[in-house]
């Protein structure tokens, strides 16, 4: 058991996966010699050689397209998009190809690839370094979508993603890479090492996809969150004094609907939180499912707290970000409904 930042945990997952399976290949823009602009692959090229960890031309479509070919060959590519905001040129390869290879060929060809990408705001990255495009993946049959919220999960889920026989989109909240963040952006940054969640299992210890994690038990209201927003939700619960039950979804597809349902049936109230724009965000799906599964238990409409329906602005970052006050307000409203 070692304490790691999220970056270290992701690096460690790569290392463990590459050591135990020759088929694991890691590449992307600035991923090789330099080790990635967020340093998530630092040291891998040195350790495993240029054939297994290398730099690519700046072509997201080329990165995912070649990864698909490699997967069809029998390798297990784990590739990086430098920012989620830059995955769009690869979207066709992800949606039309990776996601449907097994289906359209009835299993003749499969696509065990992982596409990692940093998501979310909080670094004053403006509209092209802040996006959270998870809903663009959850709508696509054939993809799995994972969002870890801490170093421990990041390592275990990434190991599982690399092992997975199907394409996995692995979204890494960049605001959490190097420290804890609960949405109180004006407070000093807290090191990961101070959190138990940075205690990462050594060696090969995958965490199965598809299982949510209860982060806080509570009786008043269920809060569904993932990634950075798990911590922000916990802060909002603390700030508001409302006894919220916080579920960290961890995997959006497949979704742990059982844990969600059980919790909402218990609390009778639900707030869904994400950083992506509200309209047609993944929160909409969560609301739809919750009201379907828990209708007769609901004592208030399910509320959503999300990014506004605008591009992610630069200077107004913290007005855009759905921080603890906005969540707390929603909790209040749901309690009073």
């Amino acid at each position: 058991m070692a304490r790691m930042t999220m970056v270290e945990a992701i690096r460690d997952a790569h290392d463990v996966a590459m050591a135990r399976d020759d088929r694991v290949i890691v590449f992307g823009e600035d991923v090789g010699y330099f080790g990635g602009v967020f340093r998530c692959t630092a040291g891998l090229q040195k350790k495993y050689g240029k054939s297994r960890c290398f730099d690519t031309p700046i072509s997201e479509s080329g990165i995912v397209g070649t990864a698909i070919g490699m997967a069809a060959y029998g390798l297990r590519p784990c590739v990086e998009m430098q920012f989620a905001d830059y995955m769009y040129p690869a979207y066709d390869q992800i949606v039309s190809e990776a996601a449907r290879l097994r289906y359209r060929s009835a299993g003749e060809f499969t696509c065990p690839i992982v596409v990692r990408m940093p998501t979310g705001g909080g670094i004053f990255g403006g509209q092209t370094h802040s996006q959270s495009p998870e809903a663009l993946f959850t709508h696509v049959a054939g993809l799995k979508t994972v969002v870890p919220s801490n170093p421990r999960d990041a390592k275990g889920l990434l190991l599982a993603a690399i092992d997975d026989p199907d394409p996995v989109i692995f979204l890494e909240p960049k605001r959490l890479y190097n420290g804890q963040f609960d949405g109180h952006y004006d407070k000093p940054i807290v090191s990961w090492k101070k959190s138990e969640l940075s205690e990462v299992d050594e060696g090969y210890a995958p965490i199965p996809l598809g299982r949510a994690k209860l982060r806080r038990e509570g009786r008043d209201v269920t809060i569904l969150a993932y990634g950075t927003m798990v911590h922000v939700a916990l802060a909002a619960v603390a700030d508001s004094g409302i006894d919220g039950e916080v579920i960290d979804l961890r995997t959006l597809m497949p979704l742990d609907i059982d844990m969600i349902t059980a919790s909402v049936r218990k609390t009778g109230r639900c707030v869904v939180v994400h950083e992506a724009t509200l309209t047609s965000g993944f929160g909409a799906e969560l609301v739809a499912l919750v009201q379907q599964e828990c209708f007769w238990h609901l004592e208030a409409p399910v509320a959503r707290v999300a990014g506004w329906d605008t591009p992610y602005p630069h200077a107004q970052e913290w007005h855009y970000f759905p921080g603890p006050p906005r969540i707390a307000k929603a909790l209040q409203a749901v309690m009073e409904a």
């Binding site: 690519t56 040129p89 060809f109």
Partner: protein, 410 residues
């Protein structure tokens, strides 16, 4: 000083439209045998000329001439002729089957049979093609069962793709035929990835990417070129220039820019242009490129100059946008006729044997068709279960899909 001349907008135009007399006099066709054959390790910069000519082996009299002749023995040539004849008869029957409502859709190879049939013979078992929808010759020439192809076309119960995929978008790992995509050009860069994987693994297998003239305009053509060039991937990058992309002539994709082969030059990739209706030339050039890839010398671009003699698909009628007789006027002739003439010329074939072979192949195709139809066609007989609709979305069916499957009652 601003030059105040007004700009004007240029849109390439084929010039000849329905009702006009076809004219291919602008297509410069070098004499058979006249184009040199470089060493396979010649530097790409030294062979740029080959992207602006057309490598041809069979001359007008059906003789094989020049430095590219002789890549196949007579037995293999006869085999090749049979492959092309099979593909043509197969196509004709499936075109009819589509009209009869036995399937929803079909695309034929009329006039382009040499390209995929001859290329296939240059590969070794284990090599992988990333084809478009117009390379079924790769399957025919590698012995993939025709009944299986038809089962797929009919989406019947024995369809290896379980009814999920549009007709002719076959897939066969064993026959080195990557699952065909409905989305153009995506496979081009995937082929490069497969080849990179082979090199990464210290394997000796190579890949072949395929793309049509029109589809070279797609962005993933570029991605394929970039990655092939950067990593010197062991891949053959095939561009089938059949002059048309649905209703648009190749000038819309190529501009008036020279040749598609020349796109290789900006990437330091050797580029050869070949008479796509000349079975011998196609094979010789393919063999050269395959050897280059296998010797770890990197990628090669091949542009096959051919002609789409039929409609784009069963949904298309070319009479709406090109002269009716254009196909007959195509100066590179018919690939089957040309190989047949050659084989007769060298005394290995005859009109009688040809007629016989044709009859025999027709019987084979009909037998395959009967076998497939005895299982079912698109709207009759045995079809894949709706249950199949939910399989293979993932390796393991997640809970929400099991629920949805139950809702359909399976």
């Amino acid at each position: 000083m601003p030059d105040t001349q007004k700009l004007s907008f240029h849109v390439p135009d084929p010039g000849l439209r329905p009702g006009d007399t076809p004219d291919f006099s602008h297509v410069k066709i070098p004499q058979a045998g006249s184009v040199r054959r470089p060493e396979i390790d010649e530097s790409p910069a030294e062979m740029r000329d080959l992207a602006f000519s057309i490598i041809r082996v069979l001359n007008r009299n059906g003789q094989a001439v020049g430095p590219w002749a002789g890549s196949l023995d007579t037995e293999r040539l006869i085999e090749g002729l049979r492959h092309m004849m099979t593909l043509r008869i197969f196509d004709a029957r499936m075109m009819t089957a589509q009209r009869q409502g036995k399937t929803s859709f079909y695309m034929q190879h009329l006039g382009e049979e040499a390209v995929s049939c001859a290329f296939r013979l240059a590969l070794e078992p284990g090599d992988m093609n990333f084809p478009t929808y117009r390379q079924a010759g790769l399957l025919i020439a590698s012995g993939y069962p025709m009944t299986q192809m038809m089962n797929q076309i009919y989406s019947n119960e024995a369809d290896p793709l379980r009814g999920r995929q549009l007709p002719i978008l076959y897939a066969s790992q064993e026959h080195g035929f990557f699952t065909v995509s409905g989305n153009l050009a995506t496979q081009f860069v995937q082929a490069v990835g497969w080849a990179m994987a082979s090199a990464i693994s210290g394997d000796s297998r190579i890949a072949a990417g395929w793309i049509g003239d029109g589809s070279t305009a797609e962005n993933d053509f570029h991605a394929g070129m970039v990655f092939a060039s950067t990593y010197r991937a062991p891949v053959v990058l095939n561009i089938v220039n059949n002059q048309w992309a649905i209703s648009t002539f190749q000038g819309i994709a190529v501009g008036e820019a020279g040749t598609l082969a020349a796109r290789g030059h900006g990437f330091g990739i050797p580029a050869l242009r070949v008479d796509g209706n000349d079975y011998l030339a196609v094979h010789a050039v393919a063999k050269w490129a395959v050897a280059r890839a296998r010797r770890n010398l990197g990628p090669t671009v091949i542009e096959y100059v051919t002609y789409r003699a039929g409609g784009h698909s069963t949904s298309d009628d070319p009479a709406a946008y090109r002269p009716k007789e254009e196909s007959a006027a195509w100066p590179l002739g018919d690939p089957i006729l040309r190989l047949k003439t050659h084989l007769i010329e060298i005394g290995a074939w005859s009109e009688e044997r040809h007629v016989q072979a044709e009859a025999q192949i027709r019987d084979e195709v009909i037998a395959a068709q009967k076998a497939a139809e005895s299982i079912g066609t698109m709207h009759s007989g045995r079809q894949p279960s709706p249950r199949e609709m939910f399989e293979d979305v993932y390796a393991e069916m997640p809970a929400h899909l099991i629920r949805q499957r139950h809702e359909v009652g399976y």
